[in-house]
Symmetry: D2
Amino acid sequence: MSADYFSDFSTVRYEGPDSDSDFAYRFYDKDREVLGKRMEDHLRFAVCMWHTFSWPGSDVFGAGTFDRPWLNGPNDAAAAKAKREAGLSFVEKLDLPFYCFHDVDVMADADEIGAFRDSFAEAVDHLEELQEQHGRTLLWGTANLFSHPRYMAGAATNPDPEVYAWAASQVRDALEATHRLGGANYVLWGGREGYDTILNTEIGTEMDNFGRFLSLVVDYKHKIGFEGTILIEPKPHEPTKHQYDFDTQSVFAFLKRYGLENEVKVNIEANHATLAGHAFEHELAMARALGILGSVDANRGDPQNGWDTDQFPNSVEEWTLAMLEFLRADGFTTGGFNFDAKVRRQSIDAADLFHGHIGGVDTIARGLLRAAKLIEDGRLEDFRSQRYAGWDGELGRMIHADGTGLADIADHAVSNKLAPERRSGRQEWCENLLNRA
Amino acid sequence: MSADYFSDFSTVRYEGPDSDSDFAYRFYDKDREVLGKRMEDHLRFAVCMWHTFSWPGSDVFGAGTFDRPWLNGPNDAAAAKAKREAGLSFVEKLDLPFYCFHDVDVMADADEIGAFRDSFAEAVDHLEELQEQHGRTLLWGTANLFSHPRYMAGAATNPDPEVYAWAASQVRDALEATHRLGGANYVLWGGREGYDTILNTEIGTEMDNFGRFLSLVVDYKHKIGFEGTILIEPKPHEPTKHQYDFDTQSVFAFLKRYGLENEVKVNIEANHATLAGHAFEHELAMARALGILGSVDANRGDPQNGWDTDQFPNSVEEWTLAMLEFLRADGFTTGGFNFDAKVRRQSIDAADLFHGHIGGVDTIARGLLRAAKLIEDGRLEDFRSQRYAGWDGELGRMIHADGTGLADIADHAVSNKLAPERRSGRQEWCENLLNRA
Amino acid sequence: MSADYFSDFSTVRYEGPDSDSDFAYRFYDKDREVLGKRMEDHLRFAVCMWHTFSWPGSDVFGAGTFDRPWLNGPNDAAAAKAKREAGLSFVEKLDLPFYCFHDVDVMADADEIGAFRDSFAEAVDHLEELQEQHGRTLLWGTANLFSHPRYMAGAATNPDPEVYAWAASQVRDALEATHRLGGANYVLWGGREGYDTILNTEIGTEMDNFGRFLSLVVDYKHKIGFEGTILIEPKPHEPTKHQYDFDTQSVFAFLKRYGLENEVKVNIEANHATLAGHAFEHELAMARALGILGSVDANRGDPQNGWDTDQFPNSVEEWTLAMLEFLRADGFTTGGFNFDAKVRRQSIDAADLFHGHIGGVDTIARGLLRAAKLIEDGRLEDFRSQRYAGWDGELGRMIHADGTGLADIADHAVSNKLAPERRSGRQEWCENLLNRA
Amino acid sequence: MSADYFSDFSTVRYEGPDSDSDFAYRFYDKDREVLGKRMEDHLRFAVCMWHTFSWPGSDVFGAGTFDRPWLNGPNDAAAAKAKREAGLSFVEKLDLPFYCFHDVDVMADADEIGAFRDSFAEAVDHLEELQEQHGRTLLWGTANLFSHPRYMAGAATNPDPEVYAWAASQVRDALEATHRLGGANYVLWGGREGYDTILNTEIGTEMDNFGRFLSLVVDYKHKIGFEGTILIEPKPHEPTKHQYDFDTQSVFAFLKRYGLENEVKVNIEANHATLAGHAFEHELAMARALGILGSVDANRGDPQNGWDTDQFPNSVEEWTLAMLEFLRADGFTTGGFNFDAKVRRQSIDAADLFHGHIGGVDTIARGLLRAAKLIEDGRLEDFRSQRYAGWDGELGRMIHADGTGLADIADHAVSNKLAPERRSGRQEWCENLLNRA
């Protein structure tokens, strides 16, 4: 039934910037080569099963506004089946290669652990068929360890080890399912791994339990032969007051502490970056510098709102900056751009799902094209390199040489009476270059 | 001349909560024992030489408002001498044990490197005499690597190695001076170690240069036999758009990356914590969990203002939470509470310097007393411990046992059909306990 | 059935600061006189029917966690009846005088307008009985014009006049019910009176429609003889991107524009104040200055979180500042302090509802006592008055005299060669006074 | 001497999007007609004398970095003369029509009131010559009532009437000078019209004094025959904790309260809008709705920084939204776009002043072109109008008709059993239209 939900819509194709259609790509031309790689291979777009198919249009102040045939409460098996069908059908209509899910997004939920596992197993069987039928595959899977009331105090950081064990069961199954469905990555998203009040919380214990959990997941991945990447997604807060995976540097601290920095990478979400007080491109640049850039959740926040609005990307300017860092990092290996975004609660039509995704795809594609143009132009990259040229000179090499001490460098400054010349940082010129791309 | 500036004021003493005087401590009773230690030994208060003695009362929109006899431009040697005298005299009047300084706070500034070093050396000689005379000593020293135009693009992260070398000279001298003056710690404060625009910045290079610098400082500390602690002070931004030492977790990531986590600790500033999106007590708890709690810059921000207001502490409630973490961490070893705070620009009288410090001292002392009472009462600590009691039980121990795998834990959940009982987090009750202390 | 929910709890009474009970007031002594008025008459506390009785403990990331016998979906008449009984019973157990509700909080919801009205009428009949039985009464009533999907684009600012008419029906009934139940005020809370995107919005039209609505409500109030106060509650955003009633000054602008400034006052919520970038006490002071202070929704936000957390008040320091403004304004006429607060999602026990309210009551009571003490002490008020003493002098009176022009004042400055002496603002001393209260 | 500072630079001209020059306009083609008006007449660009010519490149943490020949301390008359020459020469080099100043920007400062007036008079004489010589004129003048220590507690809101009188003298002279120099507007910028702490502040008194001041200025304007517009510039805070002119709605509240809403308009600054928690386009739309849109200070903030960064505009996306509101408001009458922006502290070269302004001019010009294209396309405007079409229908007209009461509207809903159909708000489609422009 629900696959028919999109029957009025044709498959979305590239028609170029001058298209008159609301249902065409103007910039995302999947076979176009950009810096030696096809756009589809650069961008590896995915549709998410939660916001786009499971969320009913509710918010804290009001009930769901969407009339979707597959929304009939979380425990209805027929509705869950319809949702899976609608989901894969939609990804095909968008002509995008990937989708992503949490276990509970694609199944009829159940409180009892055995029933839960059976329901998920049934969903995975069906997804395997649907992937084949629609020619789509899985960018990443994950387990929802935050919506059920049992997780109200966290999963891997829960004070109760029984909750931890439930989480272990869900993750084992979701990881195996991801492996079976050919998923390219597996995400651990710490929806409630943090605290509501520090008064009842021992963060040292919670972080150690979390580190243990992550180590166990990495071991299990190797045991079952899953070759995808394990990803952690930083978020500073919401729903908790404070989440441990605050941002990329916090995650790196965590990985280094538990010896996992070569096993786990970050899945950076644009809206989480800005909630943490960082520019999106900063988080990408930091992940690149630390060698842990894994994948991206593509969305945006609202600059005036202090919560996770999860809107579709619509700023080419923001994405040009992001794609500069992306290209400098040589892009993804297993990662991709997953639309962790929801159409607004007032956008109740099926068409709005298309508008959201098409706008997002083209925004990112334009960002890629502009960033590539800047790199090809070379002036920005050259200026940046030249600023640091001194580090390849005599003094720069001396500073980093074995055996050089603080006093050697200080003596150099004193004996040469150094009075360094100031050079313009040329920020406005850099910004102008960007705007001309 | 300037020591006379405070001649109208008597030494501030403890007079108890019922004192009528504006110039007495009501809660800071330095010899009172709290949890087995004298208050003075717990708190180790310090006065700073920058905000309190060098800042003229200027802000971005206006000129200085303070008429202090020692403020006569940064290059006047007589004024610098008067400032040092006034500073140590003031610390004695407050009956606090410590002070802190940047090199340029206590000297006549000079552009030329030789003249700069001579001027600083003269200042250090004088400070040594003044310490003896006033019976005060140094909590920590540091070098100002951000005010001079040469540092406009950073010091250890400057693109120009000549600037880096200048910084090395200043740090060598400031570290040696700190050693000679009996300083308990040495602080590296990264005032401009970050970027204004990512467009002209290569953060990987800058962080590596910064890591190298820090390693060289640690080596030099050992070489000269300085036994104090090296501290880094996190700050998220301002004056730069983004600073690398964003918060405690970022600093830990940095230290781990360059193998310095056992050599360097953090100097946490309350206002920097809140600018980074954290509660002050969170940063203390995190530093405790990571084993890098070193010292504290005691001040506060304004919850409605997005910049570093550096106000004197005045919230007993905030400091009760902070002191809970402080006591749980067993307090400081070499660290202390340094008043990195400035009286408001309209607080132009000498008396205002007393009001600011007395209010700050008493706020922190009350926080200590309330936190100690909570710990002695035991209910909060007990409730918190009981929440995690399961980790000492069979399942908790199994999870952490060698040889346990993810599947073992998952199997346990499945075979026992775990349906964990929810237990109240009792946040409101915890908050009530806090308010009753 | 549900009245029994609280059968394990005795009525909460004043037991003084040294009480050992978790279920007693330590500071709220209802008959104690403070500045000539009983505490109960100053504070006029109310319990809200939404957060405390209708919210199931859900958030954006998870389902409800509370097992309350009266939570059985919004359309169940028996559950609604049980909820009303539990609500009034709880208010009596707390020994507080008032409660507050939206229409849908106390009734079985219905989509059809006739059924909706019938259901509400039944609820009001029952509430009238319960008020009598429990000896409690209504601080204010309101209509929920934001939760139903019909209101997704606002109520009085909806682009569709049919939605506006539905809202008119709800408000007519809720206003009449409030009148019948002896309510002291009626609140218009603009939950979605704003916009999600300015791209599809004409704010001039929406504000005019909103102004019209408010005028019609005021007329109707007079027509039916309701003598309570009409209140508007400012909020800057959430759930919308931007709400028109951003803060107190915005509401005043609105009221002046539509000639309603003598008819309508503000209901200030602490958490909304801080989300708007204001201190809570600022909004009270501004409402006092503008003559529109009506009532208060007592709660708090989290300083690190950018959404409406609606936590119970727990900062005596914040409430001391607030109560200073409250007392300077001579308190409420018809208004009161309504606990628009919810226990945390992990606070799942019945006892937690008591802890939340008891903590809130005592926090506000302590704030009142401290503020009264400051006023009786007089030093803060005197210093503040003296700062402005010049306005009672010759020059101050000349400036405000009829016939004085800009040139007269300027000439005075020039001919007297005015060089105004600076006087300290003594902020730190003021803060110290506050902390000593 | 200083006019020569720019001698290496030619006058900046329009060269079109394909220009290779860093010193050309690509989009600002002053004679091009857009919606029936020349671009120069739409945009009315101005250069400011404070950031661009008076600020030395200092910040809170460091000294000035700029070597400009005219920066030799605020009291040097020759330097002030050189600065005026450089300023007007630069405006001509940019081929922009206007400049703006505060009194102290263009003169040698003096503490004594007579000397101050003489120095300003000399500056105005010189500016009159320079305007003639360079063919430029004044967009607006203003008086600096915040930098001198006498204004530390405000000017028109100062507790001391003598300070108020000094301010009256400055404003009289600056208003007369603006009139004489052909200024199109006069701005009152309330740099410190607010408070640092509410504890020592009576905001009712301060607002009344401020209202009186503004009334006197309006009267004086009429008395001297100045036909330009009086403008107030909203800002939420900084340097004060709280400014009374928080945002456009606050200013409107203030104007209505003192009966000035037809005499005074707002000068909206982009960075102030975002600091107040509003989108820039929101403030423009609100000013349009309230009929008080006067002029614009063109700059931007940094989304991650909580202070006034005053950067040059560089987001075409933000300015497209802004220009949509601008065009819907039929643009300016006397107002213009003043670059209240400063090049970054590291942008120390003369060329950087050009890059900043050229980038800003082109960003705004592109915003104008894109907004005009959207208006000509018509789809966005049509969709927006159709959303409100019901208000021209029978029910909409009935609601607004004289004699209609709340009960009439409610009865209509009940008797017609209204069940309004939900219609999509189409936010994503609107955003896509915007991106295609």
